[in-house]
């Protein structure tokens, strides 16, 4: 088995940066999205996953996204092609040895992430940065998996990573100021807007989004409004791009339940606990758009309320 699913055409890194090689670990939705961000910014990018099939799938997703960007005119055809050429896949850690920035976006499980960081210590250069893309785990806990926690920084990308400008940055008490500064420079070069937050459950966006959505669900349970009237009131009166129930259907009720439960376990604040209606909907298989039914029903003709 070859370590790299190679493309020999490697573009030079952007001139302002000392970063030459970015490695993204975990070839799922977030990992392949972040790989697009890095390749598009001009860095040689390796998408790593222990499972070769995942690597192939993640690379295909990333390349499809870049090709689409070319078709839509978001990138020139040449830019899209060059970015695609900078992307390489790997299923062996040795391919990460010369990475300057390693971004882990593997399964959201503390033990998995910690042991991955411990493995990385043996492979990558001592001064390489390690970024962890967690949404609900503590950066401090994840960083404790590394023998060099001073180089570990939390960088929480929004989904879809290539389209969403925001990255939430959090550090552990051991993170060095230099690692934080290099991280923010990296994110700026990657075209992202970074905000700095304490390492607390949910960081900023989920910290406020989860209780907001739960309150909207409780308002529905209480009969304060209907799915349609609450969505209309929120979009009309507050100018949100989408009502809470449209958004929950896109996110998926199962994902909302998972994120809300994780924050609730850490914060022990009932506002974060998923309301009973969420359990009922999951039990019924109404997970949102992906199952054809959530708060709304998705048919091929029209949308109507449940």
């Amino acid at each position: 088995m070859t370590d790299t699913i190679a493309n020999p055409r490697i573009a030079p890194a952007s001139s302002e940066s000392t970063i030459r090689h970015v490695a993204v670990l975990g070839a799922g939705t977030m990992g392949s999205g972040i790989a697009v961000v890095a390749a598009r910014a001009g860095w040689r990018t390796t998408l790593y996953d222990i499972d070769t099939a995942n690597v192939e799938r993640g690379l295909a997703t990333a390349r499809r996204f870049l090709a689409k960007s070319g078709e839509l005119g978001k990138l020139t055809a040449a830019e899209a092609e060059q970015a695609s050429a900078r992307l390489t896949g790997a299923s062996s850690m040795s391919a990460l040895a010369d990475a300057d920035v390693v971004i882990e976006a593997v399964f959201e499980n503390l033990d998995v992430k910690k042991s991955l960081l411990a493995e990385l210590d043996d492979v990558i250069a001592p001064d390489a940065l390690i970024h962890t893309n967690t949404s609900t785990l503590s950066v401090t806990s994840i960083a404790s998996g590394s023998r060099k926690p001073e180089r570990v920084v939390g960088t929480h990308y929004c989904n879809p990573a290539p389209l969403m400008d925001l990255v939430e940055v959090a550090v552990s008490p051991r993170t060095s100021p230099e690692s934080l500064a290099r991280t923010r420079e990296f994110l700026t070069l990657a075209g992202k807007t970074s905000v700095f937050t304490k390492d607390r459950p949910g960081f900023i966006v989920n910290r406020f989004l989860i209780p907001w959505e739960n309150n909207c669900i409780r308002a529905l349970e209480d009969g304060a409004g209907t799915v349609e009237s609450i969505d209309a009131a929120v979009t009309g009166a507050l100018g949100h791009p989408m009502g809470p129930f449209r958004l929950l259907d896109i996110v998926g009720l199962d994902i909302h339940h998972q994120v809300a439960s994780r924050l609730y376990e850490q914060l022990r604040d009932p506002r974060f606990a998923p309301p009973p209606l969420v359990d009922r909907m999951i039990a019924a298989g109404d997970l949102g758009r992906k199952t054809g039914r959530g708060f709304y029903t998705y048919g091929d003709t029209a949308l109507f309320g449940s």
Binding site: V195, G225, P241
Partner: protein, 291 residues
């Protein structure tokens, strides 16, 4: 066709003038009541300026502006409201002040004239109980700026005649807005959801989760909100939010509505947001260090 042929608006403050303009723009004649000529003139001028800005942006023509202003009558005399089919109260958010003016108007208009309050923080049911023939009383809660905001909450008080609520919803549709029917509960629907979120943000700002600027940036970029919560508070007015959330708290004893200590201190210091030139975001150095 509007469900009401002529409308009276009580009060030409920020909300009253927006409501007056919205209704006149929908082609319905409207008479606005204020306590003195100076307030009437100030309100009329503000509406004229708002429409002039619309002309400048190409949203309305100069001719339409003249027509809209021509549909607005101004008076300081309650007797001049006798022929109104619908009265919309938009005076200051104070129970006694509202009951006083609504009682005087109720004496003048017909017994079946529909009377609504634009309150956001008071109980419509409580106001209706203080007035004759409470079945014709309900709430119409407009959002600021009324001419631009597409949603109006139609509030059914305990006593409201369902037919009156239906007519009000039709009226809202006829003036080009979306009617959202809500129960008469603290905060109705929108503020019930908005206030705990804003309080939560203020409490976390106080707990130094992130800077005010970074909190606003994260929520705008992460969720596509037009304004961050702290910019929004500066716009609403910290005193206004403090009053609204304080009354929701007293009505529910739900801690989500309790005004957070930092909010109370900002209000005490006179930092009310844009209107006083200092709030969470205005009047601050936004280049604060972030790490």
């Amino acid at each position: 066709m509007s469900a009401f042929g002529s409308v009276a608006v009580l009060g030409l403050g920020l909300m009253g003038r927006g409501i007056t303009q919205t209704i006149a723009q929908a082609g319905v004649p409207v008479t606005a009541l204020e306590v003195d000529r100076a307030r009437l003139d100030a309100g009329e001028r503000a509406i004229g300026d708002f429409l002039a800005e619309g002309v400048r942006r190409g949203k309305v023509t100069e001719q339409q502006r003249t027509q809209v202003l021509g549909r607005i009558g101004l008076t300081t005399d309650v007797e001049h409201l006798a022929d109104a089919d619908l009265v919309i109260e938009a005076v200051m958010e104070n129970r006694e002040v509202k009951i006083d003016i609504l009682t005087r108007v109720a004496d003048v208009v017909g017994p079946n004239t529909v009377i609504v309050t634009n309150t956001s923080a008071l109980s419509v049911t409580d106001l209706a109980a203080a007035l004759p023939n409470p079945g014709r009383i309900a709430g119409l809660h407009f959002f600021n700026p009324a001419p631009l905001m597409p949603v109006v909450e139609v509030v059914a008080a305990m006593q409201s005649d369902p037919g009156v609520v239906d007519r009000l919803a039709e009226f809202v549709d006829a003036i080009g807005k979306t009617a959202v029917r809500v129960k008469d509960r603290p905060g109705f629907l929108v503020n019930r959801l908005l206030m705990p979120y804003l309080n939560d943000v203020v409490a976390e700002l106080d707990a130094e989760l992130a800077t005010a600027e970074d909190i606003d940036t994260a929520l705008k970029l992460g969720l596509g909100y037009r304004m961050g919560p702290l910019e929004l508070l500066d716009l609403i007015g910290l005193d206004t939010h403090h009053h609204a959330t304080g009354s929701a708290y007293r009505a529910t004893l739900d801690p989500q509505y309790a005004p957070p200590p930092l909010l109370a201190q900002m209000v005490a210091a006179g930092y009310h947001g844009r209107k006083t030139g200092r709030g969470f975001r205005v009047g601050r150095n936004t280049k604060e260090s972030m790490s």
